[in-house]
């Protein structure tokens, strides 16, 4: 059996959609952070698959950069979550409502 580009693309789309649904539907901040990572990795897989299919190296290079950026983003995101957790003692999104008054 040959696994073609469209199979990789399907998986990448699946990852991206799972991530997007996770960001919108889950209430636990840490799960939401992980969902964002899933979305980025979905895009990474698409880049890698296309780079392979088209024989253009640029797509692979982007993947490396995205991995680094995702790490920076996760560091800042976790720092924000930790700062909020210290103050409120919770990581449930529904408990952060002081901006709605």
């Amino acid at each position: 059996m040959i696994i073609g580009t469209e199979n990789y693309l399907a998986v990448s789309l699946l990852l991206f959609v799972i991530g997007a649904v996770g960001v919108l539907a889950r209430r636990n901040l840490l799960v939401v952070l992980m969902s964002v990572e899933l979305m980025l990795n979905g895009a990474n897989l698409a880049f890698a698959a296309f780079a392979r299919a088209r024989g253009v190296l640029a797509g692979d290079v982007i993947v490396f950069f995205v991995i680094a950026v995702a790490a920076a983003e996760a560091a800042v995101g976790l720092a924000i979550v930790v700062a909020l957790f210290r103050k409120r003692g919770t990581v449930n999104l529904d408990r952060f409502t002081s901006l709605h008054q």
Binding site: L9, S12, F16, G19, A20, V23, L29, V32, V36, M39, L40, G42, A43, N44, A46, F47, A49, F50, A51, A53, R54, V56, A58, G59, V61, I62, F65, V66, V69, A72, E73, V76, G77, A79, I80, V81, A83, L84, K87, R88, F96, S98, L99, H100
Partner: protein
Amino acid sequence: MNPPLVTGDMLRAAIPFILLAAGGTVVSLAGAWRSKRGALFAALFLVLAFWKLFPLLDLEKGIELWDGAVVADRMSAFLGGMLLLSGLFALIVSPPVLRREGRNRAEYYGLILFSLSGMVLFVSTTNLLVLFLALELMSIPLYVLSGYNRGDDRSGEAALKYFLLGSFSSAILLYGAALLFGATGTINMAAMTGGDPLLATAGAFLVLTGFLFKMAAVPFHMWAPDVYDGAPTPITSFMATSVKIATFGALLRIFSLAGGAANPFAHILTGENAAKILPWLAVMTMTLGNVCALTQTNIKRMLAYSSIAHAGYLLLGLIPGSGAVDAKGILYYLFAYLLMTTGAFTVVIALSTRDKGREVTGVERYAGIGFRRPFLGIAMAVFLFSLAGIPPTAGFFGKYLLFSGAVHRGLTPLVVVAVLNSALSVYYYLRPVVVFYMRDTDTPVRVDDALSLRVASLAAVVLLIWFGCLPNIGSLPGVPALLHWVGSAAAALP
């Protein structure tokens, strides 16, 4: 013989970009020894970058840097100049606020410089990789900065909200970039042609969605009022202006490529059905922004909704209609928007007080300020009149350019909606002025008299009126000179 890899011109053009990133590093590191002087160091780098950027305004032809990944031309120079001005305002108005709270540290200013370096790259590239990196470089420092006020619960929540929706939108943009790459086999948007139409269109739409999130256009605006409200006011002012300039600047560059019919973005702009999407977005954005602003009693939230409405007006300029994208109108409007929004937030900073660690910014507290503090009263009135588009301010002139340009491109129905919207906006823009002058209370209001706040608001007032109605006086540039710069920047686009 091969042309030289790096020329002197290229180095000179790259210096402003390098200065900003280097400045961010130096200021953050120097903070370990001279934490109190952060604003000064940062301003030094900013002014240097500004000085090096200025000659680029006269470039005959764009200079390609880093193997074509970044383009330094008149467009990026003009947008970069506006971004640096926005950053300079942030550096001037921040120290009084931070000193009040005892957290005047250098990292804050270093982060502003990093964010600016991301923005300047963002408006100077057609390369998908650099676009994504610049987007993250401008956004990540802003996530941190909006949560800088750690004593205030709302600041942390603003950071969280901005981070979650910001990274969500970056991921969407990145997936769009992947699809564009897959469809066309290149990461240079200027070279993209043809490819699988479904992939290319889907990619272009996802990239556009990422942009709409950043500029807070309806239906991706939900984060803006909360984030603008919770973030420290100088940061609100900085991101309200600079992020808008950066996103609209980058979109101008990308959309101007769509002239080639095979470019993926042409599907969005000139395709059969797709052409209807942007007009709807523009109408929804300006209407929702204005209608929601009507009921706000907190001035920061009101200005947040007003900035959504202004994004709607600016979107008008991006609709090609029967012509091309209206770069000139957008640039002039962005310049006016920068001055009036920063100015209004500066007055808010001068008048804000704290109650149990929370910033209080209700409009009703400003009763009688107009007579007790004549300068602040007049300055705020000028900013709000300009935001409402009342002459003789730059806000009026910018709106006039944008709307008349749209009429010429055959978008008259949209302009009618936009004019009705700005009539509606007069109501909420005038309410603070009414409170300033027509109500009075006995309770004294604390006003921050810091020199820097007064300098910043005075500069904004003078520039707004100057570039709203005055001609060139001697060697001093006036409206015609600004129009000339705007025009030559717009002409640098393909």
